[in-house]
Amino acid sequence: MGAAPASRDVTSYGMGLAAPLALFFLLFFVAPLLQLLWLSLHNDTAGLHWGLGQYLHFLTDPFSLGVLGSTLLLGAEVTAVCLLLGFPIAWLYQRVGPKLQTIIILIVLLPLLTSVVVRTFAWIVILGRQGIVNATLQSLGIIDTPLKLLYTQFGVVIALAQVQMPLMTLPLITALGRIDPNLDDASCSLGAGSWRTFFRIVLPLSLPGVIAGCTLTYAAAITAFITQSLIGGGQMLFMPMYLYQQASTLQNWPFAAAISIIFLLAVLAVVSVFTTLGRLSRGYGGA
């Protein structure tokens, strides 16, 4: 670090320090994805003949499109449930004292850090025919034969919602924390009631957090292989399992690659829609 003007700034470190990670990513992240793309552009399993056959196959096949559609739908349902349940948590967090705040955060955090298999397993226990829900309903005499909860769309959505809820709640807590508490008071002193204040002020201003949370939840929900396959059982097919089957069971790598690329693009599209919305809402929300 001589007298070169560039090295004067003692608060920043050279870009060189990013080089190892950049190289690592280039080799082990970018290159594999490119290879994936390359392979997906082949019509045969051996990867000798170029062509868009795999994509054509996917996009003209109602079954494949159905899998894609139901996956995207699943993500939307899970995200909606998470938002509906997560927002009140974030709201409550802002209202309670520091002790309860820490407890809420830890409750929200714990599942995030608990193994996803364990969390999913818990839902098998809960939703099973002898599980807690059926046992309770039966003992209350509400039903006499156990309900089928496992291996249903409902079960998958609920389990995924629980598994991904922290991803929604944490950004929401952050976003609500950034809202000037005076705005709430200002609205109130201007004569607005709580509901009005919530829908007109709090909700719009927390949009950046809502969007961040939705992005994370959505991306996580549609790729949640374990939960989808364990709670969904063998007959509900979503993109990750479809991809896995094609790659692992059927060894149809080019098609699996095409599925991956389509899946990647779908996720990217959703994420960028959310990001765009996020940017708009940030413009909207000031700051």
């Binding site: 008071d185 609205s187 109130c188 002193s189 607005a192 009631g193 002020i201 201003l205």
Partner: protein
């Protein structure tokens, strides 16, 4: 409640508030404010100004005491029913709503229809001289403009009381002066009872009809600006408002209106007993403001040695060390370069007039 009109009286009746954490934020505050007055709540940071304001607005339910607006005890009313306008220090404009939507917000909340509330918002924006900004978002306005929008928004609901919490703290000196004048103008126009919270004594003295000085949650004095400046009732008020020299001494003789005090620094002076009468022989603290001391040629005052002289723009402040070793500040108008006092010069000092020194019982 939307019909409430400017100029209602406000009574703060023996209000005490203790936060759940146990902090006693305000203690037995009594204020009797006439309709249309401007009152400044003045005090150092943490003395409970904001707490009191939030109690009046209804954001906090006081532990004890009552708030009476006009003829109504409002303690049972939530903030959105009190018809109190509030302007926050950081303005608290809704960042996602346009200026006119901000101003019309309170009307919308009351169910006023769109055209009338737009008309009203426009009228208020004209009142605060921002008629062309209606469609902008708040962040595209300067600090002073935002301030005015916040005012317009608070006035839109025709509140009977207007509360301003450190309204100018975030503005720079020049803008601040403009805004003070603007607020005073609007207040005169609307005749609305106004309470301004500030820790800036100049602001309090220049804007308010009466000033309430708080310290540690207690009301120290409530009176006109000149009362507070010239006839402080407590040592705290005397030192907090304006600057002052504190000189220890002993009472030689005293009645209700005047006391003769022998200063430790060496002279006998006449001072006003600030809080009731003083007993002979009691130790007192005499407060004399720097601008109320003068250099005298004769032997009438007390002696001292000039230390540093700091020219402070319009004034020169001389630091003088007195015989008992304490430091005294003397301020003089600085007209051009007329005055020049050598450091180390021996001088004598005396108050300009007897009524300008205040004597307080010495506390430890």
């Amino acid at each position: 409640m939307a019909e409430a009109q400017g100029g209602r009286s406000l009574v703060v009746d023996a209000v005490t508030h203790r936060y759940p954490s146990g902090a006693l934020a305000v203690e037995n505050i009594n204020l009797d404010i006439k309709g249309g007055e401007i009152i400044a709540l003045l005090g150092p940071s943490g003395c409970g100004k904001t707490t009191l304001l939030r109690i009046i607005a209804g954001f906090i339910a006081q532990t004890q005491g009552r708030i009476i607006i006009g003829d109504d005890i409002v303690d049972a009313l939530p903030p959105n029913k009190r018809a109190v306008g509030i302007v926050f220090q950081n303005y608290a404009l809704f960042p996602h709503l346009s200026i006119s939507e901000n101003v019309a917000y309170g009307l919308a909340a009351r169910g006023v229809d769109k055209t009338s509330r737009q008309r009203e918002a426009q009228r208020l924006l004209e009142l605060v001289q921002l008629p062309t900004m209606a469609e902008r978002l708040p962040r595209r306005l300067s600090g002073g403009q935002q301030q005015r929008v916040a005012l317009a928004r608070a006035l839109a609901i025709k509140p009977s009381i207007l509360l301003l919490d450190e309204p100018f703290a975030a503005l720079d000196k020049n803008l601040r002066l403009d805004m003070q004048i603007e607020v005073k103008r609007l207040q005169r126009v609307s005749g609305i009872t106004t309470l301004i919270v500030t820790h800036d004594q100049e602001e309090a003295l220049s804007m308010a009809d009466r000033v309430a000085v708080l310290s540690h949650g207690k009301l120290e004095q409530f009176g006109s600006p000149s009362d507070v400046y010239d006839r402080p009732q407590t040592l705290f008020v005397n030192t907090f408002v304006g600057s002052t020299n504190r000189m220890p001494g002993v009472v030689v003789s005293a009645d209700r209106t005047a006391a003769k005090v022998r200063l430790d620094a060496g002279a006998e002076i006449i001072a006003r007993p600030a809080a009731g009468s003083l007993t002979e022989g009691a130790r007192v603290t005499v407060c004399i403001r720097p601008e109320h001391l003068q250099f005298v040629g004769d032997a009438s005052g007390f002696a001292g040695v000039v230390g540093m002289s700091l020219p402070l723009g319009a004034t020169v402040v001389h630091e003088v060390t007195t015989a008992d070793g304490s430091g005294v500040k003397v301020s003089q108008a600085r007209i051009g370069e007329t005055r020049a006092l050598a450091s180390g010069a021996a001088v004598r000092l005396a108050p300009l007039a007897p009524s300008l020194a205040n004597a307080f019982p010495a506390t430890l």
